[in-house]
Symmetry: C2
DNA sequence: TTGTAAGCGTTATCAA
DNA sequence: TTGATAACGCTTACAA
């Protein structure tokens, strides 16, 4: 137990050279079948554990990638991570989880750490603020140094040439608006997380497009922005929902906001869907058990994880093809949180 | 851009020796203040990125730990990971996520990978099957090779000397049983995930202890085991809940099972709590929004993550004190899924 | 098929 | 305070 077993120890113990041991253990050619077997045996007897730092130093390969998430508390990432792990494991790739918490500085630090660590690739859901400023330059720097990058969920303004897997966010929200309109709603509110973030901007844009197409004109004050803090969000909802001139429906844009809307409605004594209709976004299995079951726009999150990881491994494997941009479609899960306005008009 | 900048490049560019550069950049002593500044400047001009593989090879430190989770889809781990990340980040430690999916073989493979990678510590929620067989030997091997290990959530039979943070699972369930008994329930069912796993066995044991103390004797068939697959679980619940001689209350032992019980009750037309009371385990914020809001045994998961990470970093920092075993207490969140049996008796 | 030797980028020891 | 040198454990030409 004096220190760890190295390739040299194995070589010494068999009276052969370290290079032969290396070749045998890494399945390289040029080692006799019999010798190879003996080397393997001694290696396991000696409890040999390869030192990947040494290996990486020589080969510049770590079989490790970085997974940058914007908010580790979001169930979205659990699902996504599950998809990622499922494709990484069989390929013997490990991943380091980096939580930026929508903090640009933290994101930058993590990118640097990942570069130092020598990851072969980065999967990231990058942050961008209202002014459009982001860490694009750092991702580019990583790519220049040979680290492959794939964006998932979010894109960055003015940052091209990076593979991505995103949702068709515009279409997703448009379908939500159309769905509500078909049921008679024209007074629709929209709850948005932080402005600037790609998905949020796209969803907002989809909302405006759909309204334009339908010729409806929801009040600008019904677009609720910066719904990050719970009590602040609740306040905003309260002021909009208690006005006599209030919206008859709300579209929310993440699972957390779905819950916030339901809570706000309950607190205000507004029955969903009788008094207020709700189209949620993202889907927890629990949405079905809520009273009422929430009609929701569901993203194929696990697939997104699998696709992103597959794309990245492809690049690591040497794929030098054109930039790939995969756009997934959302589906609308119809449950019971949307009513036709006939009933609501009466109550208004 | 011909390859990456190394310490040698910086040295050459300043006409000094690499060792001086190394000392300057790693804040070591023995470098003049002025020189140090110039070195820093050139380093950043040259876009220098330290190579941690090389560094690790020399120092045997990677500032990386492994986080082994038993099922990445369980929201428990999101919360836990959040706690872990919060303490790791300021210390500049990274973590590799390993998902075993309750597969002993996969767990073993991940432990090996982590050892090869040179992690300085492992945080693990280890698996153990019905027969008590587990990967304890591998964790011990890791420890022998200098990797610190902290178990969280689960312990391993016959594997001592490893720090841990767990819940007082027995007490948690006992309180659940007492709570139900106070409301008149004696016919209590228990839903268990996989037998063998530490937490499950402890919860089962707590259940039996509480019943013994109270002198109540729930039917053995009401202890539902191996509730892993959804449809199988549903079948098991169905057969127990449709019997004329059925339990009046159910205790579930994870968030997933909470949902399963609610779904089963709905499918069978059983009203919670009027026809069936439910005490859940683990807590999703959504439990409050379910109809009815689920009374639940809540674990301090984020704290568990913070404590586990702190414990591990302490060991890495050189703490050689006695084995630490921290046991956290659960709290019972009273909501509306438990009724007093008075009403139920009528309906039976 | 096997061995020799150089080198990956860093740090640590020792000497200046 | 600084520099020369060896070494960490591995892979890979190249030579045998």
């Amino acid at each position: 137990m004096a220190g760890k077993t190295t390739i040299k120890d194995i070589a010494k113990s068999l009276g052969i050279s370290p290079s032969t041991v290396s070749r045998a253990l890494s399945n390289g050619p040029g080692v006799g079948g019999d010798l190879r077997k003996r080397i393997r045996k001694v290696a396991s007897q000696l409890n040999y554990i390869p030192n990947s730092s040494a290996k990486s130093l020589r080969t510049r390969k770590t079989k490790t990638i970085g997974l940058i998430v914007s908010d580790i508390r979001n169930p979205f990432f659990l699902e996504f991570m599950g998809g990622v792990e499922a494709v990484l494991f069989p390929r013997e790739f490990k991943f380091i989880v980096c939580n930026t918490g929508e903090d640009s500085k933290k994101e930058e630090i993590y990118i640097r750490w990942l570069m130092e660590h020598g990851v072969e690739g980065i999967l990231s859901s990058p942050y961008q603020d209202r002014e459009g400023s982001n860490n694009g330059a750092f991702y580019k720097k990583a790519m220049k140094s040979g680290i492959h990058v794939v964006f998932y969920d979010r894109l960055l303004e003015g940052v091209g040439g990076i593979d991505s897997v995103t949702l068709d966010n515009e279409q997703a929200i448009m379908n939500g608006v159309f769905y509500l309109r078909e049921r008679g709603h024209e007074r629709i509110a929209l709850c948005l997380h932080k402005r600037g973030i790609y998905t949020i901007e796209e969803r907002y844009s989809g909302f405006k497009k759909a309204c334009a197409i339908l010729g409806i004109h929801p009040d600008d004050r019904w677009v609720l922005e910066d719904m990050t803090d719970y009590s602040v969000s609740l306040d905003k909802l309260r002021s909009v929902l208690t006005a006599s001139d209030r919206p008859t429906a709300v579209i929310s844009t993440n699972q957390y906001l779905n819950e916030t809307v339901v809570r706000a409605a309950r607190e205000l004594g507004l029955d969903i869907p009788a008094d207020l209709s709700l189209v949620g976004f993202d889907d927890s299995s629990l949405n079905e058990l809520i009273d009422p079951p929430v009609t929701t726009i569901r993203q194929p999150v696990v697939d997104m994880g699998k696709i992103a990881a597959t794309l990245l491994l492809g690049r690591i494997d040497g794929d030098r093809g054109e930039q790939t941009r995969i756009v997934l479609k959302a589906e609308l899960l119809e449950r019971n949180s949307v009513a036709s306005t006939a009933k609501i008009v009466k109550r208004l």
